[in-house]
């Protein structure tokens, strides 16, 4: 099946799919319509549990079990990357040397790193109040750490980032999520049910029952997962060379 036949097949199937999709779009309810039955009920349930950010309430309270599934997808992907990008026997690891970087860039990296880390933790902490949550804040915090690689070099980042700690942190965070769910099972009614803690006063940091706890667990898990993921990719791209040394030399 050479390339020409494959392209013809794609063209024919593509146009047929396009026709069907456009026909489907014409029958969809108008954009901006007023009928959102699930949305209204989700908002009412979220307000009943004093959670200001309804999306966080849907994610961590009404559909907490699906978020557990997503957490395992994240965890499995990181484990997959760790296995795929490991250093094979015949590859050797070259020590990263210090790299010359312009002074303003390094000063910017050193100045913005704590600010970005603070913003990431702010986004996680206020996940159930203002826009944000565990996922977004975790990625921002992990990216903040890698400013060291961007502002200086990989050796500086390695010195600050003990990888074993982050892999353990990843596992601890996922199990913290599970333990909170089991506590719901033991303490009150159902797995991951939000009946364990009092809902607190509306629009404060302690409102929403277990939503802030699950938010923090997901935030820590995503931050550790992204650090481990980027560590594997950086190792492959900067440190690990092939047996024939082809990999080394100027990139």
């Amino acid at each position: 099946m050479n390339r020409r036949i494959r392209l013809w097949l794609v063209a024919v199937a593509g146009t047929a799919l396009a026709a069907l999709l456009v026909a489907a779009c014409l029958d969809l309810p108008d954009f901006g319509g007023d009928r959102h039955p699930y949305g209204d009920r989700a908002v009412d349930a979220s307000l009943a549990r004093h959670t200001a950010n309804t999306v966080a309430s849907v994610n961590f309270d009404q559909r907490a079990f699906d978020t557990l599934g997503e957490l395992t997808v994240l965890f499995a992907a990181v484990v997959g990357c760790v296995v795929l990008l490991r250093q094979t026997r015949d590859e050797h690891r070259a020590r990263p040397e210090p790299e010359p970087v312009a002074r303003p860039v390094r000063r910017y990296a050193l100045a913005v790193l704590p600010v970005a880390l603070l913003t990431g933790l702010y986004v996680i902490a206020h996940g159930q109040l203002s826009p944000g949550g565990g996922f977004q804040g975790g990625v921002v915090a992990a990216t903040a750490l890698h400013l060291l690689y961007l502002g200086a070099d990989y050796r500086a980042l390695e010195r600050v980032r003990p990888l074993g700690l982050y892999e353990a942190g990843d596992a601890v965070a996922v199990s913290a999520y599970l333990v909170t769910g089991l506590a719901g099972l033991i303490g009150a009614t159902a797995f991951l049910a939000n009946t364990l803690l009092p809902y607190g006063t509306f629009n404060t940091l302690s409102s929403g029952g277990t939503v802030p706890l699950l938010n923090a667990a997901v935030g820590m898990e995503v931050a550790c997962a992204v650090v481990v993921l980027l560590a594997r990719f950086l190792d492959q791209a900067v440190e690990i060379e092939d047996p024939t040394g082809k990999g080394s030399g100027t990139p």
Partner: protein
């Protein structure tokens, strides 16, 4: 239809359209500069939309973009250092244009919100945006010249 959303629409259509055209065509050095300017312009659009929709909590998006936009450009500047080495980008004109626009937008928003913690937050976002943009442009035009191993 208030003026803020109109301003955001114009900035989005003109500014983002130009940067998209800049990043789609031309030599690599111009594409990298266009990417840097696109994050700055998008941050301004987000600030205008936050004011236009009367939702102060949307400023968090502009804050994260003001932080991560320049970091994304640093990623490109660092990992494409060898590709950019032969003809480094020299686009200080558009950068200062966008920085000026940013300063104007942030001051207009601060005047609109009046002296309060919210305008302090806007000033922080403006400072991060302008500082990040200038440093990213500096990094693009030769911040990582002596790089060997990346």
């Amino acid at each position: 239809m208030n003026g803020w959303i109109l301003a955001a629409t114009v900035a989005l259509g003109a500014g983002a359209g130009a940067t998209l055209w800049g990043v789609a065509t031309g030599p690599l050095r111009r594409r990298v500069v266009a990417q840097n300017l696109s994050t700055a312009l998008a941050c301004l659009v987000l600030l205008l939309l936050a004011q236009g929709y009367d939702r102060p909590s949307y400023v968090d998006l502009a804050l994260v973009l003001a932080l991560l936009g320049p970091v994304g450009t640093l990623v490109f500047a660092r990992l494409l250092a060898d590709d950019l080495a032969e003809d480094p980008p020299r686009a200080w004109g558009p950068t200062y244009l966008v920085v000026g626009a940013g300063a104007a937008v942030v001051t207009a928003l601060c005047v609109a919100t009046g002296p309060s913690r919210a305008s302090a937050k806007l000033l922080v976002v403006g400072a991060l945006l302008i500082g990040g943009n200038v440093v990213a442009s500096r990094a693009l035009s030769g911040g990582f010249s002596g790089l060997r191993r990346g």
